[in-house]
């Protein structure tokens, strides 16, 4: 489980909201260029924090319900969930350190 696994409108509650560890959700879309730059960063984070957090990705085109529920506008948006609540988010293509620093607050 070292890479970001896909979640959907249907699986979001089980996979994200009811997770026992904090979850990083990568909201992405196929024709979003910067999403391509963030994907490898997210993969690295998944490896670095393996066992401490869960890392998943949600295709906003195919899963508009969750994307709308959390007010996703600009993509990529990286959102952190803890105990079923959204606790933080980072918008746009960011360096790994920015993402790691944000995550560290919730471990």
């Amino acid at each position: 489980m070292s890479s970001a696994s896909p979640v959907t409108d249907t699986s979001f509650k089980d996979d994200v909201l009811e997770s026992e560890v904090p979850v990083l959700v990568d909201f992405w879309a196929p024709w979003c260029g910067p999403c391509r730059m963030v994907a490898p960063v997210v993969e690295e984070i998944a490896e670095q924090y393996e066992g401490q957090i869960k890392v998943v990705k949600l295709n906003t085109d195919e899963n508009p319900q969750v994307a709308s529920q959390y007010g996703i506008r600009s993509i990529p948006t990286l959102m952190i969930f803890k105990g079923g609540q959204r606790v933080d988010m980072v918008v746009g293509a960011v360096p790994k350190t920015t993402l790691a620093n944000t995550l560290e607050k919730y471990l």
Partner: protein, 119 residues
């Protein structure tokens, strides 16, 4: 899928590519150093142009795409780009942007290659 449709899609893509090259030159901006980003965004813009009649930004999530097209704010080039040269899609980057490359042009062959790699 018909050949006519494929032809139209390619034409739209080519017109988006031409627009982007001219707009980059006109605004003194550059394409991303990772040119696959440029290719994917151009493809996304062309798809929206074919589907909606306008090249709506592919790096946003919308509740209602038709309404957004009418609203015009996120039709490429969007208001933040026109007013402040800000493109969160990383299509048009000012030279000081960390992801800016050196190019203001891109080959059709390369765009098609990136698209094929995504299938």
């Amino acid at each position: 899928m018909t050949t006519a449709k494929t032809g139209n899609q390619n034409q739209t893509l080519e017109s988006m590519k031409n627009f982007a090259e001219q707009y980059a030159q006109r605004t003194g901006t550059y394409f991303c150093s990772d040119t696959s980003v440029t290719a994917v965004v151009l493809e996304g813009l062309a798809k929206h142009k074919d589907q909606l009649g306008c090249p709506l930004c592919p790096c946003r999530h919308y509740e209602d795409k038709e309404a957004e097209v009418k609203n015009t704010f996120w039709n490429c080039p969007c208001v933040p780009m026109r007013e402040r040269r800000e493109c969160h899609c990383l299509l048009f980057l000012t030279p000081d942007h960390p992801f800016a490359g050196k190019e203001q042009s891109i080959e059709m062959d390369y765009i098609n290659q990136v698209r094929d790699s995504m299938k």
